[in-house]
Amino acid sequence: MRGFWKLLLVQAKLYLREPIATFFTIFYAPLVLLLFGAIYGNKPTPFFGGRGTMDIAVPSYIGLIIATVGLIGLPIGAAAARESGVLRRFRATPLHPLAYIISDIAVYLLMTVIGVLLLILTGAIVFHIRFEGNVLSVLAGFLLGATAFFALGYLIAGLAPTARIAQTVGMVLAFPMMFISGATIPLEVLPAKVRAVSQYIPLTHVVTLMRGLWFGDSWGQHLTEVAVLVGCLLVGGIVAARTFRWE
């Protein structure tokens, strides 16, 4: 794994040098939180089971960040590195392919974590949001959701012939998902018919799992979510591995 840490550092720096990626990964969700917080505040309401809008929003927006990175940032980045010949250049060195892939995943994970921490911090400081869960449990749920979506992202990059197509596919999947999964608008507000559709959207399961764990649900109450996300992780991972190419 010679060169791994250096690669990780360089990839992280490169990520932060892309203003658009940095904005949508790290600052977008906290800004949306501030906006909706200014409109709705965080007064407890029976509609959300005695919790405020912001209490619900913070764990839900974690899904927003995961979807942005996994379905938009990652497929574009991975397909562009292949298409432009960056991967070819790395391949001609003794760097182990696994080291490259792990570093790639680690950087996306790191950026997602930074975005999530800033979101939680904003919620805690500005809206004094409630947290009734177990930190490790929430962390595990987050890791499952993030890795499942990263796997889907690599699947898109692997199946798309070009970076442009990867970008289009990622966005076409991500934007509707964000709005009918509960990741931006709470599921409770959506009409029943939309909610029926949202059950078939992977992001809904990230949001449901994160909200559940955030307020102290046990994993046993979320077997459906876990099954769907593990499925995404496996299918995405296998297809990504099979369609991976250096050029």
Binding site: R2, G3, K6, L7, V10, K13, L14, R17, E18, A81, S84, G85, V86, R88, R89, R91, A92, T93, P94, L95, H96, E247
Partner: protein, 304 residues
């Protein structure tokens, strides 16, 4: 001197296309070995099979005593590679690229000195996307040298460069060889191969059609020299035609081309013109080039 590269009966097809069709050659340590031929002749496929980036269908490849497919990691530590189609992340800075690629190798040279030698010292903090074509090429050369390799691969190094940058790159390549490295390069510029390489393999349709030192290839052709000059007014070229060694004389407007062989051709032509009292100017000689060799061997001109 040992053998750096040994290739025996290399075959590689893409579908029905035989990109490389039974190529054999050896590259000795310390030489600049060039593979020339038109685009699509199989140069890049050959070099990438030797580098271990492509799997040959058939044939044996040994590089520095290693099998590129089986001992790829060990081999990649000891070679430097400049690829024909490669890139770096757009916002990666020059010094970061050297620092990063250097970290992949157990042994590396001073990146700062390398940039100095390659004329990139003032571009240390520039992003890859801001570099000119020539600067990018030099950075890729720097990356190919960062691990102090025994053997350097340069695939179409000067393609897309202007003539001045191309000449500067030739000096660079000679400099690498002077440091004791072996160089295997491909090019579709015959002039480049002729000026730069100790030995040249001419490749066409996946086969080597000739392999020797450039001067031997040219000599083996038995091609004629040409003496070209411009003369004013009317004059009788019979004495020129009668000279020993002269095969024919052509007139194109005011310009005259004398074809012939032998050491004394130029002196003979000049002497004859002076005896006849013909006023001539712009006299020059044209030697046959690898371009002529290619034409003679394949029956067609090299094309870009």
């Amino acid at each position: 001197m040992g053998t750096a590269i040994e290739v025996i009966h290399l075959h590689k097809s893409y579908g029905p296309v035989r990109a490389v069709d039974g190529i054999s050659f050896t590259v000795e340590e310390g030489e600049i070995f060039g593979m020339v031929g038109p685009n699509g002749a199989g140069k890049t496929t050959t070099i990438e099979c030797v580098e271990g980036l492509r799997r040959p269908d058939r044939g044996t490849v040994r590089v520095l005593g290693l099998d590129p497919r089986r001992d790829g990691y060990e081999l990649r530590r000891r070679i430097g590679v400049q690829l024909q189609e490669a890139s770096l992340p757009p916002r990666l800075k020059v010094w970061e690229a050297l620092d990063l690629f250097g970290s992949f190798y157990p042994r590396r040279v001073d990146g700062r000195a390398l940039l100095e030698q390659l004329g990139l010292a003032d571009k240390r903090d520039a992003a890859f996307e801001k570099l000119s074509g020539g600067q990018k090429q030099r950075l890729f050369v720097a990356l190919a040298l960062i691990n102090d390799p025994e053997l350097v691969f340069l695939d179409e190094l000067t393609t897309g460069l202007d003539p001045q940058a191309r000449r500067a790159t030739w000096d660079l390549v000679r400099g690498i060889r002077e440091r004791g490295k072996t160089i295997f390069l491909t090019t579709h510029y015959m002039e480049e191969a002729e000026r730069l390489c100790d030995r040249v393999a001419i490749i066409d349709h996946g086969k080597i059609v000739a392999l020797d030192m450039p001067e031997n290839l040219i000599r083996s052709l038995g091609a004629e020299q040409r003496v070209v000059f411009t003369a004013d007014g009317q004059w009788d070229d019979t004495p020129l035609r009668g000279m020993p060694g002269v095969t024919r004389v052509e007139h194109i407007g005011e310009r005259t081309v004398v074809y012939g062989r032998g050491e004394g051709l130029v002196g003979g032509v000049v002497g004859a013109l002076e005896r006849m009292g013909v006023r001539f100017r712009d006299l020059r000689t044209e030697q046959p080039t690898l371009e002529d060799v290619f034409l003679a061997l394949t029956g067609r001109e090299m094309r870009e």
